[in-house]
Each structure stands twice: as structure tokens, then as C-alpha cells.
Assembly symmetry: C2
Homo-oligomer: 136 residues x 2
DNA sequence: ACTTACATTATAATGATTCTAAAGTAGTGT
DNA sequence: ACACTACTTTAGAATCATTATAATGTAAGT
């Protein structure tokens, strides 16, 4: 739950101009109580409904990637033809419902500590992600 | 390390006709000491080198999907524009080298037991996969 | 206001994957 | 061996997500 001014500041502070389109997208992504999982297609549909003058698909792609690079969005590793993004950028894991293609957050505390006992010389661990596939 | 007859039997026993193309692909995939991680593109290149009369790309896709459905191949969850497959169909995890896009197996024993403390009513856990992203 | 670098846009291009429908082949029965 | 049928392969077209292009628009500093 944030307001327009907060978005404007955040964008400016990360070197992104607070354009009409970016603020519109911020509203959809971050004016929520829960975290939001989405594909570009889903985001695009929501934006179409919300406003009369729709935002170009290219801009949605650009913005989502800009937000991902600034760590305002996280991309989730799922093999699907589409990319999934998450407004929760903290270290956490996911359920993936194979029937509905829905993602559900697993808090860090929902998953026991994960010990990686193997090391690859000269490589650093960037992230450890658990994907729990479920279906009915 | 298996021979042609073994492949023929395995294919027949799962209702797949042992065609020239499928046997050729079996050789590339399973006549190895270590497990093999690949994309369709990589597999296609290897097959092109191996034999004069190349196998159609559509057949490679068909075969890989048929093998995946019969549980002779596993698809790995990575968000990439391409799909990755693994000849190791057992329950195990992966390192993904973000610099080289290379996959490395983590034996089940290389990762501590993963406890999923959250349950989703009416849903069964189909798999639990850990992806450890690394880079230099 | 003027300028400039950054953004948006419609459209085209790309690239992986899937579809199509025609030609080929394996396996069965004769 | 021969014929039949269902399954396979194939080249090429189609599809779909994503990225590139290049022209137009806009934010923000001077």
C-alpha cells in the first residue's frame, strides 16, 4: 500500500523517470496487500481493463525488465513458455500448481534450511530456489 | 552404457516403435557414463555431426517429448527461452551456471533434506526441485 | 522555452516450439 | 513375400512470446 509520491521517489532514486505508464504499472503491481505473481500477458490484461488509453506491450516488457533489474521484481524459474514475475523480491520459494499454472508463495520459514553440501570451485552461489510442483 | 537391443526393448515395452531416428537419438542420450543435460538445439547439433542423413527438427522435438512422457527424460525448471532436459530422471537438484548456461547435477545427498512445512488442501506434492544459481 | 537524453509506441523481426498434411515405415495378419 | 493399417517422419508453415527498430513524445535541467 503505497501512494503515487512514494512511487515517484522510488523511481527517481533508481534513475528511472516516473512516467505516466510506469506509475500506472506501479499501481497495479504494488498497491496490494499480498504479493503478486504474474506473466506479462496477465499484467497486460489488467492494465487494459484499468485504463482507457492502453499501454503498449513493448512498454510493459521494458518496464517489467527495468523493475527486475532494479530489484523491484523477481523472475521465477519455471519451465513454461512464459516468464513469471513476483513482486516479492525477498528470498523465498514457490508452489507451482501444474493444473492451473498458479504460483503460491512459500515463506522462507515454510521451508526447512537448505544445505548445499557441494561446492563448485571459483563459483559463487547467487540464489537457491525451491519449486514445489503440486496438482490435485 | 547400453546396446541397441536394450534400446529396442525399452522402446517396444513402452509402446514406441524403435525407428532408426529414435535409436540414433537413444545412442546420443544414453550411451554415456555421466548424465547428459541438453537443449533441443544442442542435441540437434550433435545429431547433425554424428550422421550424414540428418534427423528432422520436428522429429527431435517429438522424440524428446515422447521420452519425457515415458519418463526417460526429465525437463528442468529454469527460466530461459529454451527448455532443458536431463537424462537423469531420478529425484535430484541442479546448479545452473548463469555465465555459461550450463547445468550441473546435485546428487540427492548433496542437498540436505528439504522440509515443506506448508500444505495446500486437496493438492499433492508432485516434485520438489532446488535450483542453485551460480556464477563466477 | 530550449535542449537533450530518456521513454513510448506501432510495427517488424526473431527464435523456439508446435502444427499440418503428405510421404514413409513398422508390425500384424494373410 | 504381400497387403493393410496405424504409427512416424518430414519439410514447411504457423504460432506465440519476446526483442529490436526507428520514429515520435516527454521529463527535467539549463
Amino acid at each position: 500500500m503505497e501512494n503515487k509520491e512514494t512511487f515517484v521517489k522510488k523511481l527517481r532514486s533508481s534513475g528511472l523517470r516516473p512516467t505516466k505508464q510506469r506509475l500506472e504499472i506501479c499501481k497495479v503491481l504494488y498497491e496490494r496487500d499480498k504479493t503478486f505473481h504474474f506473466t506479462i500477458e496477465e499484467l497486460s490484461k489488467i492494465l487494459k481493463k484499468k485504463s482507457k488509453k492502453s499501454i503498449s506491450l513493448a512498454t510493459i516488457y521494458n518496464t517489467v525488465h527495468a523493475f527486475k533489474n532494479k530489484n523491484y521484481l523477481k523472475e521465477i524459474s519455471i519451465n513454461s513458455n512464459k516468464s513469471y514475475f513476483d513482486t516479492n523480491v525477498s528470498n523465498h520459494h514457490h508452489f507451482f500448481n501444474e493444473s492451473t499454472h498458479e504460483l503460491i508463495d512459500l515463506k522462507d520459514t515454510d521451508v526447512g534450511v537448505i544445505k548445499i553440501k557441494k561446492k563448485i570451485p571459483g563459483k559463487k552461489i547467487k540464489s537457491v530456489e525451491v519449486l514445489v510442483k503440486i496438482s490435485s
